[in-house]
C-alpha cells in the first residue's frame, strides 16, 4: 500500500464581506424573484388575451386538462391473444419469477391444445403493487404480455379493484378510461 496518498482539497466557498452583510444577496434574490413574477405575469396575460406564447406556469390542471406522459411511457399491461383468440400465455412463470414487485399471480392448468401443453388458469396483476419496470415484457418468451402507453389512469375505490384478472388484461372487459395525451420527449421529428 502506498503510504504517500494525496488528499484532494475541497475548496470551500469563502464568505466574503459583501455576502456577510447580506443586503446585496437579498437584493440579488429579489431581482430573481421579481423577474420571475414579471415574466410570468406577462406570459399569463399574453395567453389570457389570446396572443399565445409560452405558458406562464408549468402546472398541468389534471382533471380538467389531460395528463401528459412521454410517448414511449410504459403503463398498463396487456395480455395478447393468438389468432384463434386463446391467450398466448403458456404459464411458464418467467414473468412471475422476474417481477421485482411480486405483483403477478399465475395459476397454470393443462391446455386442451397438445401443442401448447400449458396455459394460465388465472393471471392476475396487482397494479397497486406494480412498479411498471417492464421486466415481465422482457422475460416473456411467447410475446404474450406487453405494456400499453398513455393509459395511466386506472383508479379503484378499493385495493381489490386494482388487481386485474385475465379478461381485463386482455381487453375483453374494458377498464380503461380515456387515454391521455401523448407527447414525444424527443420532439416531433423523432416520431
Amino acid at each position: 500500500m502506498n503510504a504517500k496518498h494525496t488528499v484532494a482539497k475541497v475548496r470551500r466557498p469563502e464568505v466574503r464581506f459583501q455576502e456577510q452583510i447580506y443586503l446585496i444577496e437579498v437584493w440579488k434574490g429579489l431581482v430573481i424573484t421579481t423577474r420571475h413574477l414579471l415574466v410570468n405575469l406577462y406570459r399569463h396575460l399574453s395567453v389570457a388575451l389570446g396572443r399565445g406564447g409560452p405558458a406562464g406556469s408549468v402546472t398541468t390542471q389534471y382533471p380538467d386538462d389531460p395528463q401528459v406522459t412521454a410517448k414511449r411511457s410504459r403503463t398498463r399491461h396487456r395480455l395478447l391473444k393468438r389468432e384463434d383468440g386463446t391467450p398466448r400465455c403458456v404459464a411458464c412463470m418467467l414473468c412471475e419469477t422476474v417481477c421485482p414487485a411480486k405483483c403477478i399471480y399465475i395459476q397454470a392448468e393443462e391446455s386442451p391444445d397438445v401443442m401448447v401443453e400449458k396455459r394460465a388458469k388465472t393471471f392476475k396483476i396487482d397494479l397497486g403493487m406494480c412498479v411498471f419496470c417492464g421486466y415481465c415484457v422482457e422475460a416473456c418468451p411467447e410475446d404474450a404480455i406487453r405494456m400499453d402507453t398513455q393509459f395511466i389512469a386506472f383508479p379503484g375505490m378499493t385495493r381489490k379493484d386494482l388487481i386485474w384478472d385475465m379478461p381485463e388484461l386482455m381487453g375483453d372487459v374494458k377498464k380503461d378510461p380515456k387515454p391521455v395525451k401523448a407527447v414525444d420527449p424527443l420532439g416531433p421529428a423523432a416520431s
Binding site: 437579498v26 429579489l30 430573481i32 424573484t33 420571475h36 413574477l37 402546472t59
Partner: protein, 359 residues
Amino acid sequence: MMACCETACPLWVDAAFSAVKIALAMGFGLQTAAFLTWVERKQSAVLQDRIGANRASIFGFKFLGLFHILSDAIKMMTKEDFAPPQGLKPWHTLAPIISMCAALMCLSALPFGASVELFGRSWNLTPIPLEYGVIYVLALLSVGVHGVVMAGWASGSNYALLGGLRGAAQMISYEVAMLAIVAGPLYLYGTLDLAQAAAWQARTWHGLPLWGIVLQPLAFILFLTAGAAETKRAPFDLPEGEAEIVGYFVEYSGMKFAMFLNTDFLESIVLAGMTTTLFLGGWHLPGQSHLGLSGPLLAALGVVVFVTKLMGVLWLLMQIRWTLPRFRFDQLLDLGWKNILPLALVNLLVTAWAVHLFS
C-alpha cells in the same frame, strides 16, 4: 390633542366624523388583510411558475381564485371551535382578541391624508389624530406580545408555551430596535405626530423630494427589517412558522386561528403604513402642485397616493417573504441586538449631528 374646528360646530359632527373615519380605516385594514391572503397565494404561485389556488368557483365562474377568500371565511367560521381541556378557556379566547384589536387600533392612527377645508371648517383625514402617534402605534404593536404569550400560556401545551416564549423574545428584542430606528427620522422631522412627519417630507431640494428614504436610507432598511421581525412575517416567522415549527397557536382552530392569521396581515399593513408615513412621504406625490388640484380633490389624491404607496410596501414585504429562507433563532437575535440596534444608534447620532450642522 386634535384641535377641534375653528368655528363653533356641534360636538356630534366631530364624533360622527371620527367614528366614520375609524370605521373606514378598520374596514380598509380588514378588507386588505382578506385580500392579502389571496395576494400571498397568487404572488408566490406566479413567481414560482405555478398557478395558485383557483378551484373555488361560483356557477363555474372562478375569477382568478378570488372566491377562495370567501370560501376560506366560510370554512373558518364553520369549523369546530376547539379549546383544549387542560388550558385556561377564558384566556384562550381572549388572546386572539387582544392580538387582533391591538393591530386594528394601530390602523386608526395612520395618516391617510392631509386636512381638507370644506364647509367652512378643517376636516382632518387621520382617523385618530395624535400628537404622539408614533408612540401610540409602537405601544399597541407591543401589546400584540400579550396576545402571543397569553395564547401560549392558556393553551396548556408545552409546545405552544415555547412558541409563545419565542414570540415574546423576538418581538420585545425588535421593539427596542424599532424605537432606536424611528428615533433618527423623528429627530429629523422634529415631531412625534405621524401626520406632521408626513407633511415634513413634502419639501423638495432641487426637485428631489426630501422623503425619509432619501435622507434616512439606512433607517428605512432597518425599519423594514425590524418591522418584518416585529410583525412575525417571514423570514422572521419563528414564533409560528406555518407548517414547519410548532407555534403559539398550535391549539387554536376555526375563527380564533384565523384571527391570529389576520393579525399578522393587519400588522403588515400597519408596518407598511408606518413605512409610507415615515419614509415614503405619506400622501405626498412629487409634482402634485403642477396638477392644479385643490380642496377635496387634492385630499382624495392624497388618500389614493397613500394607499398606493402602502400597497407597494406590502408587495415588497410579500416579495421578501417569498425570496428569503427563514432565519435561525440565534441569527435572529444576533441580527436584532448586535447589528440592527447599534446601527440604529449610530444612525441616530449621525442624524442628530447633521441636524445641528445644517439647521
